[in-house]
């Protein structure tokens, strides 16, 4: 009796470890076959679906509500077509470039082109308790949403063909390498950078790509002189809700299992979103005299974007501070934009670019779970994180610039003034949003 009981206890002990990511890795190292855990698999499939929901309908409507009604469909289309397109790009070669067997720390090999060798067994390299294909599709969603985020900066004026070409090039030349460097075993990961769910890979890269887009494409006709109020804020709030909802998959899914680490990321995400929403609201209240609904929505997204790299590494109170900083500083960044004079139409730079930087740096400051940041005594991490932010920013900005030039020379970037007057919906798609 006692012996069998202790055996059971021992087993349980082991079982716990199985539940925890690190052990399965250990086991994999011993050469055993990793096994699928149904709970982890369920969670990552759900998380993948959640991230899809962040894009379509989430981001599509968030952006769609912010533009003028003559551009509502064209704006939604950006996210929709990017989602379809990057899915195929990722399956064909994007995944292999990002996560395939490493070549010199720089890029993944083409071994997994067309998902060859990406089967329903766990991968030996990533997420040892879920099917490799599920890991692949979870990463696919990240690849797609990153490109979609950028579209907010050139809303209401990009040629549709240009959008297609830009998206494919950007995904292959900016996203896949970056994902490889940070998550696929590349050189940055070897330096020990921390990016839990994509503060650098997703938000800094899209945010500063967006800045370059806004500068290269130029202002919208009438920007700064005529009011361009959002045509449907309830739609934007709907998008906000779906983004928040989906972000649980984005961040807590990045634990790659339904374990304690996922729980840490889940609550950090939720708390930062709330703190971000409130702090933006208060900042605008103080600055402009009224709390606004678009303000709280923007603050929520700022909080979510900012906590992304830190989610799995910080406790609830740190998350609250990070979220509060996010809402305030992103608000300041967005207000400054008007002074700098570029037309980042839906504030991708101010929210994702600035938020991503704050998040990456904050990870170096506040990390206390599974890593140690400056405030807990490890100055080294802070330096590494600042370096990560700068490298990502520079790589994305320069790469985006080159890609835009290529697109401009080939198909042209911007629609004609007359088409802009008419709106994307009629000029690019022969459709109207509302009849």
């Amino acid at each position: 009796m006692k012996i069998s009981n202790s055996l059971i206890k021992l087993g349980l002990l082991i079982a716990v470890m199985v539940g925890m990511g690190e052990w399965s890795v250990a086991l994999a190292e011993e050469g055993t076959v990793p096994t699928i855990d149904t709970g982890d698999t369920a969670w990552i499939m759900v998380s993948s679906a959640f991230v899809l929901c962040m894009m379509l309908p989430g981001l599509a409507l968030f952006y769609g509500g912010l533009v003028r009604s003559k551009n509502a469909l064209g704006t939604i289309m950006h996210t929709a077509v990017i989602l379809c397109l990057i899915t195929l790009v990722w399956v064909i070669c994007g995944y292999s470039l990002a996560f395939g067997p490493d070549i010199g720390g720089v890029i993944g090999s083409l071994e997994w082109v067309g998902l060859q060798g990406v089967g329903s067994e766990p991968s030996p390299d990533y997420a040892s308790t879920i099917p490799h294909q599920v890991f692949m599709v979870f990463q696919l969603m990240f690849a797609a949403i990153t490109v979609a985020l950028i579209t907010g900066s050139f809303a209401e004026r990009m040629k549709f063909k240009a959008l297609l070409l830009f998206s494919v090039l950007w995904s292959l030349c900016i996203y896949s390498p970056l994902a490889h460097w940070v998550w696929g075993g590349g050189w940055l990961s070897q330096l020990g950078v921390l990016d839990f769910a994509g503060g650098a890979v997703v938000h800094i890269s899209s945010g500063f790509g967006a800045l370059v887009c806004a500068m290269v494409l130029g202002k919208r006709k009438g920007f700064g002189t005529e009011p361009m109020p959002p045509h449907n804020l309830p739609m934007t709030l709907l998008g906000t809700g779906l983004l928040w909802f989906g972000w649980f998959g984005f961040n807590a899914g990045s634990a790659l299992g339904a374990n304690g680490g996922a729980g840490v990321a889940f609550i950090a995400t939720h708390i930062a979103a709330s703190a971000g929403g409130l702090s933006w609201m208060v900042a605008e209240w103080v600055h402009r005299g009224k709390p606004t609904v678009l303000g709280i929505a923007s603050g929520i997204i700022s909080g979510l974007a900012t906590i992304t790299p830190a989610a799995g590494f910080v406790g609830p109170l740190s998350a609250m501070i990070i979220g509060a900083m996010a809402g305030t500083l992103c608000y300041v960044a967005v207000v400054w934009k008007m002074k700098l004079g570029y037309d980042d139409s839906l504030d991708v730079v101010g929210i994702h670019g600035v938020g991503g930087c704050i998040g990456i740096v904050s990870t170096g400051l506040f990390a206390s779970i599974g890593a140690t940041g400056l405030f807990f005594g490890n100055a080294g991490l802070f330096g590494i994180q600042v370096f990560l932010a700068l490298v990502t920013l520079a790589f994305s900005a320069i790469g985006t610039y080159i890609i835009l030039k290529i697109v401009d020379w080939t198909v042209g970037l911007r629609i004609s003034a007359q088409d802009e007057e008419m709106g994307l919906d009629l000029s690019q798609h022969n459709e109207r949003a509302y009849s």
């Binding site: 109020p229 402009r288 967005v334 207000v335 008007m338």
Partner: protein, 112 residues
């Protein structure tokens, strides 16, 4: 016959309608319009950027009335639509050369 075009504050529509019905005027046509005038509009703020919106929502009423009832109609509208604050609106009167009721084809005062 006259055509009265009254531009009023939207929330006064019901009162004006009642006032006209009391006079026995049972027909009118309503259009949602935006007005620009002495009444200043309002401020809107989106992500810290303030817009001054100068156009104010108004209701335009088109009412065809027989000549003899014009005065009382104008009085009724003025009374019902008045709040005393800026932006109460205007009434314009034009001459109608003819009026036709489509259903019957009849024209003139009987058509109203």
């Amino acid at each position: 016959m006259k055509l009265i075009q009254a531009i009023i504050k939207p929330f006064k529509l019901d009162e004006v309608k009642e006032a006209l019905i009391e006079l026995g005027i049972h027909g009118m046509t309503v259009t949602e319009v935006k007005g620009f005038g002495r009444q200043k509009g309002h401020k809107e703020t989106y992500r810290g950027t303030e817009y001054q919106i100068e156009f104010v929502p108004k209701i335009k009423l088109d009412i065809a009335v027989e000549d003899k009832r014009v005065t009382e109609a104008l009085e009724a509208i003025t009374r019902a639509a008045k709040t005393g604050s800026i932006g109460d609106g205007k009434i314009f009167v034009t001459e109608l050369q003819s009026v036709i009721r489509i259903r019957t084809g009849e024209s003139g005062e009987g058509a109203v």
